[in-house]
Symmetry: D3
Subunit: 216 residues, 6 copies
């Protein structure tokens, strides 16, 4: 039995694109869909926090949204791990936080370093890693949400660069790579979050790569 950590933001949490709507059902969240797709050969632990960034601070919520500060705690709590899947970066696109897909890719690099350093420091073997480029921002009438991302054009232009930058980092650091934009589209309800079907699609889309990496 393999153990996989799904580390992400509201898209991993399963946030509803309908403002105020309930969290997607357990069955519809992508870590659950991935676990289902792996047919009992792995447990997928979901750690998705709304607003989480790669490694930028964001104090607009009670939770610590800096993905680098909290990661070692979660690695410890869920080890031994065979694989860590990281889908982060959307929140990095907010101009007040970071504003750049390029920098998000370097935040992903830092998370890779944290994971590898964490285990190496203790003389243990690090898990495999997959970097996931998030879906594209789409247009929406939700003015506040679009405003967080510097407007639709900024959000779209930057999110379009995720795949290229993340793939480059994955190549340099020898991790797996998956482009979620190839299987999932944001809902126009808020321009960022995914409906249930698109959420499930990410988990399903990841199955082949995860099987390959874990030799399942």
């Amino acid at each position: 039995m393999k153990t996989i950590l799904a580390y992400g933001d509201s898209l991993t949490y399963g946030a509803n694109p309908q403002p105020g709507g309930p969290r997607h059902a357990y069955e519809d969240r992508w870590p659950t869909a991935l676990e289902r797709g792996l047919g009992g050969q792995a447990r997928v632990i979901a750690e998705g926090l709304g607003g989480r960034t790669t490694v930028s601070d964001d104090w607009y919520a009670a939770a610590d949204r800096n993905g680098g500060r909290i990661l070692p705690t979660l690695l410890e709590s869920h080890s031994p791990l065979d694989l860590v899947i990281i889908m982060l970066g959307t929140n990095d696109l907010k101009p007040a936080i970071c504003g750049s897909a390029l920098e998000a890719s370097f935040g992903m690099r830092r998370l890779v370093q944290i994971i590898r350093g964490h285990y190496a420091g203790k003389g243990e073997q690090a898990p495999e890693i997959i970097l996931v480029a998030p879906p594209l921002v789409c247009d929406s009438d939700n003015a506040d949400m679009m405003g967080h991302f510097g407007g639709y054009e900024h959000g779209l232009n930057e999110s379009r660069q995720f795949a290229e930058h993340y793939a480059k980092r994955a190549g340099e650091w020898n991790t797996g790579f998956f482009d979620a934009a190839t299987v999932a589209k944001a809902s126009p309800l808020d321009g960022i979050h995914l409906d249930a079907a698109n959420t499930r699609a990410i988990g399903e889309g990841l199955v082949p790569l995860v099987k390959q990496i874990l030799g399942l």
Copy 2:
């Protein structure tokens, strides 16, 4: 006797728009003016820190300018409180810090959450809250100050959005709202700070709303 906390930045501190000029006299600061206007029915405690933001970090000074990090300490030190008046957001407009009135309004939301969570956590009743939209940035020959705000146009355009965003947050979170731009204008000496008369005007302008909220 009611107790009111006035939580703010240099405009609450009473900074002089004349660079290097002395702090406005105690009598001229808006918390004092408000206390005077309440005719002995309330004590107003002033906590204004130059450069304070809503919830963004700013390490350009020795003091911790993140308004969210310090707030619980001040709530504890001055409780029991009947009302907290928050006038923040101007410093959020600096592009190096945040750059956006929209995000400032969400910083105000976070401060509301901190206040309500603080008391609820201990099983105590939270004070009433008023969100105050700060005065508009105006043009000035003070190049450094204008530079901090990304230039006059950026500062003005963003500060013009305070009222709309703050009123929306106040509505969503059921707090009082006051637009200081309706009673006070920044001094052209530095484009941000207020002369003594405009500082007093905020306290005087707040009197009716405070009386209504506190039932005075």
Copy 3:
């Protein structure tokens, strides 16, 4: 379907009392045993970190062991929650960290405040809470482990006070209370950790109280 967060330290993680031994099997950890005992009516999310304290800092590991700093993140990531079960305090007994069961009980109080304040700040309903007094420290030849706890006598004397202090806090703060020492004994292999059977026993022991609190 109810959702329960099991928040704890190495005893919740499932650490092996045999130094260097593997983590207890998923089936043997107490959150799993509790989930099993609830017969499909609840999902139990396990967040156990080796060395976690209630609210004291401990920088001897890469992870942030202060249970209060990380809790808001986990609440956000796993909400909506119906119940939070907290079993912490053993690590507080280390003299270098805190040294006192009494203070551990006040650390538990702080965690209750954090949980209730977290949800109240956002206008949401807080989950139910159960405070669990940890098992007693027992004697062991593991000199380093005994040393961390100030020697066997100190560890035992303090851990014997958990139940009284935690029950008092639970009464004052209107939470559930369970004394794990009534169902589980530490292994003499290291004096602190539990073998698989004693680990399972905690989950099984909690079933009646959890059912009652959640109305199952």
Copy 4:
């Protein structure tokens, strides 16, 4: 008109020795009594936080209790200041926090350094400083409170050393010194806090020294 900052813990806040009792009336707190005694020649700003230490961390409350971390913010918010009176150290005596009156005196030294460095860094003149040795811990039936202080004997033995150590530090660092134990006694209700009369007595006791230092 002089401005004085009264920086302290629950004794400066005006906590009631009767657990759950209300904060002492504004008129009975020692900063108010001092202001009254100065006959209109000074304003005394009270910043007292329950549980505040000199420079030790304590995460048992929502507020930041480390007296060194918050001090620069308060200095900025209330400057220009003529005098800072610091009465801290009682909470340092808790074994879980620090446990030692000697170290508390070195915490006071650090606060002196923070104050002087704060102003010197900006090329401004630092205010005068008075270090106040807190009243002695006394015996009480309040077991939790005595427990926080390591028992009555530990609390008393350490608090008896405040005056000697603080006076030594004051001499070395050229600050004023006042021993509050000469004018105020803790209430046996909890062994730590002061009734209204003893609280007022500190303010009244400080009047001559403050007048002398400020040339009033």
Copy 5:
């Protein structure tokens, strides 16, 4: 024998403009060149950290890049000091971090305050200070590096303002000032870093000013 602290970023570290290339030889780093130029009359301690900013946080690396947070530690470790030379600001130009040469100059001001406050707090004499405006960003095919700086034009435009703003701050705060752009040019290999000759040139260029300030 004088002691000088050279406090900087990758340009002080001696980073190679050839990505992946080795650190410049000890002899080629500018602190070494300066020491050589001072002819045995001073020891120059180099503390250069890649990515260091003046006072902004940057969590993209394992090291703490905020130049203000680490400075007191280095001052303590290397005191007594006769002179601190600070060459920082280039990394402040990254839009994700700060984006502005003007703000970098105010970050330099904060470092001056930290240095002077550090020593004054302990009643010691502060060392002399020289603020160094970094070399200009130049164009490069290194897309990632140019991307970090918001593109070549943004990097160049802002870095061109270093000298004016730093000179103004130096005048206001009575420190020495040196413009490294007058003696060193960035390499087109990455647009930011210096080849060995240009690195040495900074140390050599500083010699006359350092001699004058230290009376050598």
Copy 6:
């Protein structure tokens, strides 16, 4: 040419056991003595901070004394490194900070993990490491200094355990080990610090082990 980082506290800094006395001359500090003993085959970079602990917080000074928090910055600033020599632990013995040589040895373990994780995270080779057990505390008339260490007996008893615990950690983690108590004795002037001859002796004593580890 090899590069060695000497990471320590006041004993590495070269503090004078005569209170208020000057720092030991550059030539007398142990890193210098070690460099001299290596006959031009290595550069030894000294980073000694008064009061530095292994991994405990201590806010009694302006500098960050937690040896784990600052270490990554120094590793980055001085890499590539061939060897890191760590002599820490004395300050851990202060009861207000940690109080235990056993825990100090686990703090040393954490520093080993930080070093190895730091380089492994970036795919680089970590330097060799030597753990140095500090000299013994001796008796002194300096009451404040003895008080910091919980009295002479506590200081001596704990410091006598350094060698055993550090050697055990070194064995478990495959690092070099050296017992400075075999070559250096604290001065009775303050019971903690070393005179110049004893300071030099540590560097001289380390020469054979360093040569062996570095193959010189």
